[in-house]
Every structure is written in structure tokens, then in C-alpha cells.
């Protein structure tokens, strides 16, 4: 036994059954419609999945890191768009739990745990992606609050979320994070369609025009919006995506195993052809490696080790790249059928590319990982140079 099956548990059985019955059979249809039915999102929340990671005291299911990771993996097998919604919802709810004041927590955490309110995370802008610390959306202090102006782009779950974590720059203090409701005057949302992947994730563009919010909307402290609040949320997002890659590879493997068993070419099922066997073997190896890294990240996060941030980054980096490899091979094995909406692998292929971009691109992960390796050498040298200059 290998892959996710090796991690047998009641929770995993629950997640797998949910995905098999409610998600997987319909996800291609959702992608074609470029939207997720509201009933599905409501049901998802009612099952406690949107509150999966919140403490029971707030009404959440208080899953441990591994169980939550398994949920992310199973969702990715069924619909990466649904995983995307869970990712941004938990990024924002975890940020409120971690850095919110009592009033923000009491106002929003019970609703976020129950799934009666969805949450999205807004950092990226039309001209700012990886260089997130250079955001141009501004929040100018004004009386007992702030006035926001600017645009956010590529925001998942913006079609259905009622609450948004928005990172904006305060003129004097630097980046700050704000919690803003959907109905705030001056805040508008435009859906984005025709995307490569995540087509049912409700991706949109947010515009703030003289949008006035109260001082109690501030999450954390002004100036720490990126280094503390957004970075913390992105770390959580990378954990979700890391497990998402695991689930996506698992989905590719299952689809290919079934297709290679039934598809006959040259008088034999595809699985009898050695070149197909080679691609399936690579997929299985990538699944095991990705899962091992994700499990290592889960254990490190459970132990609250500072190193967990780097391990999570490595897990996300590896599994998203492995997912792209696996899904490309999965389409190849399926041939022309792999390009058809009648099969799931075309969706896996399109979504896998997005996994490599969101919550920090593969290149940003490489920078983080290599910086961690080289920091000592570089800082010693810079320090010596500084001393010499002094």
C-alpha cells in the first residue's frame, strides 16, 4: 500500500467519501461553468470543513496539522478550486485567530468556523505579484479609521466571500492588514474568467475607491501587515498547497491506473507498455516523495518548530513541481482523451501550473530556500565589509 491510502484514518475515509460523492463527479462541470454552486459551498461549510482548522472554542473542528493536510489533499483530488477556497478562507481565519483583537475574534471567528461567512485573502495587485512588500494600495488614516484606495487582483473566493483580509500600505508606518466586509461602500468586485486553471474558484479583482473603514478593522499593528500577518497567512497557504500537490498527483495516478487498465492499444492494455509503466512509476515516486515532505511539514508545524516555515516552503515547492510533471504525463498517457473535459487529467494539468504560482511562486520558494542555505556566508561577508567601511 502506498500513497494516501497508507495514511488510513477515519477522517481520511470521511474526506474521501465526501470528495467521491459530492465533488469529483461534478468538478469538470463547475470548471466549465467557471463557478461553484452556492449549495456546494454551503454544504462544505455545514460539514465543518471551512472551520476545520479553528479551535473548538470558536466552533471549529480543531483538526491537527496532518488531518487538515489530508483534507487538503483529498479536496485537490476532487477539485483544486474547492481547495483554493478552503486555503484562502483558512489563511484569513487563522490570521484573525493569531493577530486579531478580542472584538474581531468574537465578531468573526464563530461565523468563519460555521462557514456562514466565507473569507478571502487580498495581497496581490495588477502590478505587484512576487514583490509583495511593494504593494501600492494605500490606507490613509482619517479620523477614527482609514480610507483605502487601490486594486487587488487574482483574489480567490472573491465571488462568494463576505470577508476580506486586505493588505495596504499606510503612508507613515508601512504595510498593514485590514479586515473588510464585502458590503463596505467604495469596495467593488469584478469576476475574472477565462483563466488557465482554478476556474471555479471565484477569482476576481477588487477595487477600493475612497473606501472608509473603522480603526477596529486593523489586524495586528500598522507596519507589521506584511512581515507578520501576511507572511504568517502565506505560510499557512503554502502548507495547504503542498498537500494539494500530493492530492493532485494521487488523482493523476488513480486516473492513469484506471485508464491504462481499460484502454487497449496494439492488442494490449496500456499498462502492458513499458513506456507507460515508466511514466506511472515516476508519478508514484513523486507521490511518495511529496507526501513524505508534507508529512514532515505537518510534524514540524505540530511541534511549532521555527524550521517548519522552511520545511513547508520545500514541501510546497517540490509537490507543486511534481504535480505539474505528473499531470503532464497523465495527459500524455490519456492521449487525445487527456485533452477532453470527459476526463479529469486536463483539469489536473491546468490546475497544477497554478499551484506553482500561488502563495509564492516556485522561484520565490527557491529564493527562500537558497537564502536559508547561504545566509550565513553572505551575512558574514557583508558584516566584514561594513566593519571595514566603518
Amino acid at each position: 500500500m502506498f500513497g494516501l491510502s497508507a495514511l488510513g484514518s477515519d477522517s481520511r475515509h470521511e474526506f474521501r467519501t465526501y470528495v467521491d460523492e459530492v465533488v469529483y463527479p461534478f468538478s469538470n462541470e463547475w470548471e466549465e461553468r467557471q463557478s461553484m454552486p452556492e449549495t456546494v459551498i454551503r454544504d462544505f461549510g455545514a460539514r465543518g470543513y471551512l472551520g476545520a482548522f479553528l479551535p473548538e472554542v470558536w466552533g471549529g473542528r480543531e483538526m491537527d496539522n496532518l488531518t487538515f493536510g489530508l483534507l487538503c489533499a483529498e479536496l485537490a483530488r476532487g477539485s483544486v478550486s474547492l481547495l483554493s477556497m478552503l486555503t484562502v478562507h483558512t489563511m484569513t481565519s487563522q490570521a484573525i485567530l493569531r493577530w486579531g483583537g478580542d472584538s474581531l475574534k468574537k465578531r468573526w471567528l464563530p461565523d468563519l468556523a460555521a462557514g456562514s461567512v466565507g473569507a478571502a485573502f487580498a495581497l496581490t495587485e495588477p502590478n505587484i505579484g512576487s514583490d509583495a512588500s511593494s504593494i501600492s494600495t494605500v490606507a490613509v488614516p482619517d479620523g477614527n479609521g482609514y480610507v483605502l484606495n487601490g486594486t487587488k487582483k487574482w483574489i480567490s473566493f472573491s465571488a462568494g466571500a463576505g470577508l476580506f483580509l486586505v493588505v495596504a500600505r499606510c503612508p507613515d508606518d508601512g504595510p498593514a492588514a485590514f479586515i473588510i466586509t464585502r458590503d463596505t461602500p467604495g469596495f467593488t468586485i469584478e469576476p475574472m474568467t477565462g483563466l488557465l486553471g482554478f476556474r471555479a474558484a471565484g477569482v476576481g479583482e477588487l477595487t477600493f475607491t475612497d473606501c472608509r473603514i473603522g480603526a477596529d478593522s486593523l489586524l495586528g499593528r500598522s507596519g507589521g501587515g506584511f512581515s507578520f500577518v501576511a507572511s504568517h497567512a502565506l505560510d499557512h497557504g503554502r502548507y495547504c498547497v503542498g498537500w494539494g500537490g500530493v492530492g493532485l498527483i494521487g488523482g493523476c495516478l488513480e486516473a492513469c491506473a484506471e485508464y491504462a487498465r481499460t484502454r487497449i492499444q496494439f492488442g494490449q492494455p496500456l499498462r502492458s507498455h513499458q513506456l507507460v509503466q515508466g511514466m506511472v512509476a515516476d508519478m508514484a515516486a513523486d507521490l511518495e516523495a511529496s507526501m513524505s515532505l508534507a508529512m514532515r511539514a505537518a510534524a514540524s508545524r505540530e511541534a511549532m518548530e521555527p524550521e517548519s516555515i522552511m520545511i513547508t516552503s520545500i514541501a510546497k515547492y517540490f509537490s507543486s513541481k511534481a504535480a505539474l510533471r505528473a499531470s503532464a504525463d497523465a495527459v500524455q498517457i490519456h492521449g487525445g482523451n487527456g485533452c477532453s473535459p470527459d476526463y479529469p487529467v486536463q483539469r489536473y494539468y491546468r490546475d497544477a501550473k497554478i499551484l506553482e504560482i500561488i502563495e509564492g511562486s516556485s522561484q520565490m520558494q527557491q529564493l527562500m530556500i537558497s537564502r536559508d542555505v547561504f545566509t550565513g556566508v553572505l551575512t558574514q561577508r557583508n558584516r566584514r565589509r561594513k566593519r571595514n567601511d566603518g
Binding site: W99, G100, G101, S133, L219, G220, R221, G223, G224, F226, S227, F228, S231, H232, D235, A303, M304, E305, P306, E307, S308, I309, M310, M368, R371, D372, T375, G376, V377, T379, Q380, N382, R383, K386
Partner: protein, 106 residues
């Protein structure tokens, strides 16, 4: 013998409950753990306890997060939103003061 460190060594303090004892031993122990963690990431043995790590370019958002996690885990503290000020993490001295405040030792 009260205040003795054991063996044949001379007692350093006459009274184990001398406030000075706690100040020196506890503060040094906390500072030593913080210094060890910081140097593991910065690897600058010459970094002085009061030097500003932000001005030296040693702290990025990743290291800032790691510092928060380290303080919370090592000293079983919860960094609150009020503590989310870069000045609390600018130097080994500043982080030590943050921990002491969190522990109610100042």
C-alpha cells in the same frame, strides 16, 4: 548549604533567593538561548547583544516569523498583537526584554 553551587566550590551568593541571583542567572539564560537561535540563522559570531539586526539587514519577513515562533515555543509565550512591533525584535537585548516582560519578570 544555601547559595552553594555544590562540591568544593565557593558559594557565589550568600542567599539563593537573592534577587540579584535571579536577575543575572535568568536573564543570562534567556539571552543565551536567544543568542544561540539568532546566530544559528545569522551566523555572525561578532553580533553584539544591542546591535540592531534590522539595520544590519539580517531580518527579513521569514526570519521575523521564525523569531516569533522561536520565542513562543522556547519560552512558552504567546506573542500578542501589541507585541508585533519591529522594535521588540531589533536586537538580542530587545528580544530578551520582550521575553522578560512576557514572563512577568520585569
Amino acid at each position: 548549604m544555601p547559595g552553594s553551587l555544590g562540591g568544593n566550590r565557593a558559594p557565589v551568593f550568600t542567599h539563593i533567593d537573592n534577587p540579584l541571583y535571579y536577575e543575572i542567572v535568568i536573564v543570562n539564560e534567556i539571552k543565551s538561548k536567544i543568542r544561540e537561535f539568532v546566530l544559528k540563522h545569522v551566523r555572525d559570531d561578532n553580533l553584539e547583544d544591542d546591535e540592531n539586526m534590522f539595520e544590519l539587514g539580517y531580518v527579513n519577513s521569514l526570519f521575523a516569523m521564525q523569531l516569533v515562533m522561536f520565542v513562543e515555543k522556547e519560552f512558552t509565550l504567546q506573542i500578542s498583537r501589541e507585541d508585533l512591533d519591529f522594535s521588540n525584535f531589533r536586537s538580542i537585548e530587545a528580544i530578551t526584554a520582550l521575553v522578560l516582560r512576557g514572563k512577568g519578570l520585569t
